[in-house]
């Protein structure tokens, strides 16, 4: 996966950190101090569709040429998460109980084109 930098327009991962202190949640969320709410953004021209990274083989290269020459024949694909991990939280619930849980698939680690 590729991290977005500067004015890259291709499908990449944008980092976005939510600091719980900044949003006034540090009193009820004990750990961690924030949430990496990364997300995917950018273009997925057809010849990039369906491959996780660069062209991996001769077959892929030929397939890309076919796709690129028939670009008007189909729509673009989408830039989506391809790798995610859980968000572990230690927090107070409404009865001031302390609860620890791992929320699955909350943090995006990598993006790619469908």
């Amino acid at each position: 996966g590729i991290d977005c930098s500067g004015d890259s327009r291709m499908c990449c991962r944008k980092e976005f950190f939510v600091d719980f202190k900044e949003i006034g949640w540090e009193d009820w969320i004990i750990q961690p101090e924030g949430y990496h709410m990364n997300y995917c953004a950018g273009l997925c021209p057809l010849h990039m569709a369906g491959i996780p990274g660069l062209a991996a083989s001769f077959h892929t290269a030929v397939l890309n040429l076919i796709k690129a020459n028939n670009a008007d024949a189909a729509v673009d694909s989408c830039c989506v998460p391809t790798q995610r991990r859980p968000l572990s939280l230690l927090y107070y619930d409404r009865d001031s109980n302390v609860v620890k849980t791992d929320i699955p698939d909350m943090i995006v680690d990598a993006c790619g084109c469908t």
Binding site: D7, R9, F16, V18, I23, W25, D27, W28, I30, Y35, M37, Y39, A41, L43, D76, C78, C79, L87, L89, Y91, Y92, D93, R94, D95, S96, N97, V98, V99, K100, T101, D102, I103, P104, M106
Partner: protein, 232 residues
Amino acid sequence: APKGVRCPACGLAALAPTTQRDVLITLAKESILSKLRLPDRPNITQPTSRGALLTALRRMRAHHMDAAVSPGMPHDSSNPHLRPGMGVQEYEILSFAESGSSTSHSIHLHFHFTGELAGSTEILQATLYLFWAVPGPGTHPVTVRLLKPDPMGLNMTVVSKTRLEVQRAGWATLDVGQAVQSLFNQGSQRLTVELEVAGDWGAPLLGSHSDSHWPFVAAQARARTPHRVQRR
């Protein structure tokens, strides 16, 4: 999309950076609250003292280690309930006691479990941790009753009764898994523990709420998965 260019995915104009930040923070809050099954962020009236929290986490770790190495005790891996669920959200809950009524030879402790968790999880394991202060030598019998409010919430019914022989000061544990599960099944949210000592033994427990020897219940729960009918 860079400023002025339409977003290729949704066709909307690019957002101003501050607007985009506000939108993302709102999304993050909604996402976390919905995954925790909370209607809104909780308002904490009585945060647990750091000492009590650290002691409880240490006690739980020690208890798990003892359970893992002692022969005959069901290891986590052997207990099908405790094997990590594939992708199912699991919870560890620490509920610290709230003082109830007491006399010279009995004391009541209340443990509250939030509605959201109670309605949507199944209890895998629950253990009551008590710290005894024993005045003097010899064995001190203590009767521990687990009480739950009846469905009308008017009277208390005894869920279980256990007689303990306390010989020395220190931590003791009691399995309360079934009592907490039956609470959750009934949709009730409060477990009451009554400790009764024979004769006039004085308060059978150490410490006030601020002390790190305060009683607590440690529970492991798993989100209920919607019942799936397998068709062959």
